[in-house]
């Protein structure tokens, strides 16, 4: 294991817009075997830690991030300058209390904040681009487990994740049943539905239809920012409830008193989505978006275990807690219940609660006091 400066793996389009950053990173000593049958060598895992590991290394909490998240869970994002993405939940005295726990959060395999992904330099000296192997959620978890090995952490106090992070937490419980004592899964699912896959495909097609995508070979030049922005806009709609959108924007016009009879962003909701889309291109690599959405679409934990979800959890002794939100239509409560039933059938100790929050899928990132209480209680 050695610490490496992975700044050079930043794609040029982002690197030219923001100063290069040295992410804290660990190079894995072994090749990482992948579900596709391939293996990746020289994998770097970029990560952050918060709080101190105790003497017997029993207080580590691994937080798994969502599709476009990263390791900056409770510290300033080096590109956007914004606070950590879960700073309300993680920190001294917060529900995930860094006075008590050491919190570890790593950039997942395939992403673009320092961990090895399609923007990284392949052994031949050029960026992988589309030569990067297609990865799965289980491959991401293999990367995380290898990182834990490197950090000398045999058993996590808890593995936590929302959305795609929840998929990783479930996958870890199923495939590495001895690595976590508790598994906390928020607003997630054990399989991607047709609707989930469909939305992702819209995003991927938007990226690949951008002439600047150039078959994924755009590093050093202009990236497919327009396509990536559209992908983000489409996805962003799925993260918010209809009620949330209506409440936030309604049919209000943006900086004008009347419709323009043109195709400018007349409505506030259009302006907001355009802002979300263009801001996203500053911090995310389009190829990573393709690879990670693919990994999510391939995710079906039951399929990995002979078609029966309960069998996926046959070997774990962990305690589980699942949380869903009543306004989340991306991974609705029924998906969490599906997992809970499987855990019940396998005899695993499991708690489940559907919380009421108006914000849709993104509720897990926003101010929902009941979620604070559930997480705090489960970690006790």
């Amino acid at each position: 294991m050695l610490l490496i400066d992975s700044a050079r793996s930043l794609p040029q389009s982002r690197a030219t817009m923001a100063p290069a950053h040295a992410h804290k990173s660990m190079r894995l000593p072994h090749d990482l075997p992948l579900d596709s049958g391939q293996a990746l060598s020289g994998v770097g895992m970029a990560y952050e830690t918060y709080g101190d590991l105790n003497a017997d290394k029993s207080n580590a909490i691994l937080i798994c991030h969502a599709l476009t998240g990263d390791q900056y869970v409770a510290s300033v994002h080096p590109i956007t300058g914004k606070p950590g993405w879960w700073e309300a939940m993680v920190g001294p005295g917060k529900p995930i209390d860094t006075n008590r726990f050491q919190v570890i959060c790593a950039n997942v395999l395939g992403s673009c904040m320092g961990s090895t992904g399609p923007a990284s330099i392949a052994p031949d000296g050029a960026p992988y681009g589309m030569r990067f192997p297609v990865i799965t959620i289980r491959d991401m978890v293999r990367g995380l487990v290898a990182l834990l090995d490197g950090l000398g952490i045999e058993k996590l106090h808890t593995v936590v994740g929302g959305s795609m992070g929840g998929m990783q937490a479930l996958s870890m419980a199923a495939n590495f049943p001895d690595r976590a004592e508790r598994v906390l899964v928020i607003a997630s699912t054990a399989r991607h539905s047709a609707q989930n896959i469909a939305f992702h495909e819209v995003g991927r097609q938007a990226i690949m239809a951008d002439p600047n995508w150039n078959g994924g070979d755009y590093y050093g030049g202009t990236g497919p920012d327009a396509g990536l922005a559209v992908a983000r806009m489409a996805a962003h709609i799925t993260y918010i409830s209809e009620e949330g959108l209506t409440e936030k924007f309604g049919r209000r016009l943006q900086d004008r008193d009347a419709k323009s009879f043109g195709f400018d962003a007349d409505f506030q909701v259009e302006s907001y989505l355009r802002y979300q889309g263009s801001g996203f291109t500053l911090r995310f690599d389009a190829n990573s978006y393709l690879y990670i959405t693919r990994a999510m679409d391939y995710f079906d934990l039951a399929e990995e275990h002979g078609g029966k979800l309960a069998d996926a959890f046959g070997r774990t002794k962990a305690r589980f807690c699942l949380v869903s939100f009543d306004s989340d239509w991306l991974y609705p409560t029924a998906e969490s219940r599906h997992v809970v039933h499987a855990l019940n059938a396998s005899g695993a100790p499991v708690s489940f609660v559907e919380l009421s929050a108006p914000y849709g899928h993104d509720s897990f990132l926003l101010d929902v006091p009941a979620l604070d209480r559930v997480i705090k209680g489960f970690l006790k």
Binding site: R337, N344, P349, S351, V353
Partner: protein, 195 residues
């Protein structure tokens, strides 16, 4: 910790190491007692999200769910004991609920308020109004109790469905009373059942 008398009897009657499902577990008092007292592997189901939160905060494994709907998802005999305390009268179909309890659990503990208690009868016969008593303190339009039954009614249902009574306890003034004239004297009853 002081448990309601029917729950205390249940806690005393469950052997060590038993797998228990407490349906309508509320804030988890019974589960906590069972876990602490006798190393019971207790799981709960509760419809109210805030109560589930409290249970999770106590380190208990509780699923938010509606027993009328979600009990069907548990495998056969996945528990040694299924508990339904003071809740049967609130379910949509008590007879089907009883079937589910005895499918999911090898045994079931069921407690319910006895509508045959003399105060109830007096309220209805002499007062001409639906009873509001210490044991059933909520008015007819607010009560969650949608199926009122007496101990005799319950016995009839058990006989009709081939359910065995392993034990029964009757309560008045929060103490166990003997079974003589229980349908007049008991405010509520607890049954240990099997099939």
């Amino acid at each position: 910790m002081s448990l309601r008398p029917d729950l205390a009897v249940i806690a005393q009657s469950i052997p060590r190491g038993t797998r228990v499902l407490d349906i309508g577990c509320g804030d988890g008092s019974l589960m906590a007692e069972l876990t602490a007292l006798s190393g019971v592997d207790a799981r709960g189901m509760e419809i109210d999200a805030e109560q589930v939160e409290r249970c999770v905060a106590r380190g208990l494994s509780v699923i938010q769910g509606d027993a009328d709907r979600d009990l069907a998802d548990y495998p056969d005999k996945s528990f040694d004991v299924a508990i339904l305390s003071q809740t049967l009268q609130t379910t949509r179909r008590p007879d089907l609920m009883l079937d589910q309890l005895l499918r999911v659990g090898r045994q079931a503990f069921v407690s319910f308020p006895n509508f045959g208690h003399w105060r109830m009868r007096a309220c209805l016969t002499l007062g001409g109004r639906m009873p509001v008593t210490r044991a059933m303190p909520v008015t007819w339009y607010e009560t969650a109790n949608i199926h009122h039954m007496t101990i005799k009614d319950f016995n009839d249902l058990l006989a009709l469905n081939g359910v065995n009574v392993e034990g029964c306890w009757f309560f008045a003034h929060d103490a166990v009373i003997n079974s003589a004239g229980a349908n007049w004297r008991a405010e509520y009853a607890l049954y240990q059942l099997s099939r």
